[in-house]
Amino acid sequence: MVNLNTVLLISSILFAIGIAGVLVRRNALVILMSIELMLNAANLNFIAFARHSGSVSGQAFALLVMGFAAAEVAVGLALVVALYRKRDTVQVDDINLLKG
């Protein structure tokens, strides 16, 4: 059936794509989506190891992670909207108020 290595490989690649999105893109919305992608890669690992170790704790924890991701995306999108109102941009390059 499903090999643990396959799950680990796919979730690590998914995590790498998420990191690449955060580091490389300049649109704040895409950066938020990449963070969600990384959380999903972690969830995939949780479920695979839950199945591997024979307990449902991993699945319960993955459910908690999903709830945290929803809370995080709500606050993040509110920040993006507030930023757009104040500075009229969502490009992270243009947000340099803290630059010395």
């Binding site: 796919i10 649109n27 989506m33 969600e36 995939l44």
Partner: protein, 183 residues
């Protein structure tokens, strides 16, 4: 025909996983924000398929409900609100692309070095089969949702309650952050 269907069923996880990777790559690479959101939706649905093929039925359904039903719609609303076509993107990618690529390569090499034995070694772990104790627990619980809720409300009761408070804080915080200024 039956044989091919059986092969597809056995490799369902890999198929969904590769599709999720394609959706994620499309999300990161596409120039338009709406296309990014659609790629994100596709990736999330494929990850839900991965969850289903790993026998986590409840989580797969929760994934579809939370992501496809909630988060993607939220993203689409914000994309509509911020009117992305107004400012020109100087380029899709940021200036520090070179250092990002170097960081990813270093991370990949470190990952492979750390998990080389696990991934490619002779002593690679056995295939994922349902352990007898879990199978027994599932037989008691009858369904995946019941098993998950047993774990959630016994071992993870405190994190669960903290999560509910955090969701309330996020709700109030989002309203405060996004509300228009007093006139």
């Amino acid at each position: 025909m039956e044989h091919q269907l059986e092969t597809i069923g056995r490799n369902m996880f890999a198929i969904f996983g590769v599709m999720a990777l394609c959706g994620a790559a499309f999300m990161v690479a596409s120039k338009s924000a709406v296309h990014s959101v659609l790629g994100f939706l596709f990736a999330m649905l494929c990850v839900a398929g991965c969850f289903l093929s790993l026998d986590a039925e409840f989580l797969g359904m929760a994934q579809i409900l939370v992501y496809a039903g909630g988060i993607v719609v939220l993203f689409l609303f914000v994309v509509m609100l911020v009117e992305l076509s107004k400012f020109k993107e100087k380029g899709v990618f940021q200036l520090q692309t070179r250092s990002a690529v170097i960081a990813v390569i270093v991370g990949g090499v470190a990952f492979l070095a750390a998990f080389r034995n696990l991934l490619f070694g002779a002593a690679s772990p056995e295939a994922l089969v349902l352990r007898p104790e879990l199978a027994q627990g599932l037989a008691v619980a009858q369904q995946n949702a019941q098993a998950v809720s047993r774990g959630l409300f016994s071992d993870f009761l405190l994190p669960f309650e903290i999560l509910s408070v955090i969701l309330l804080v996020a709700l109030v915080g989002a309203v405060v952050l996004a509300k228009t200024e007093r006139v």
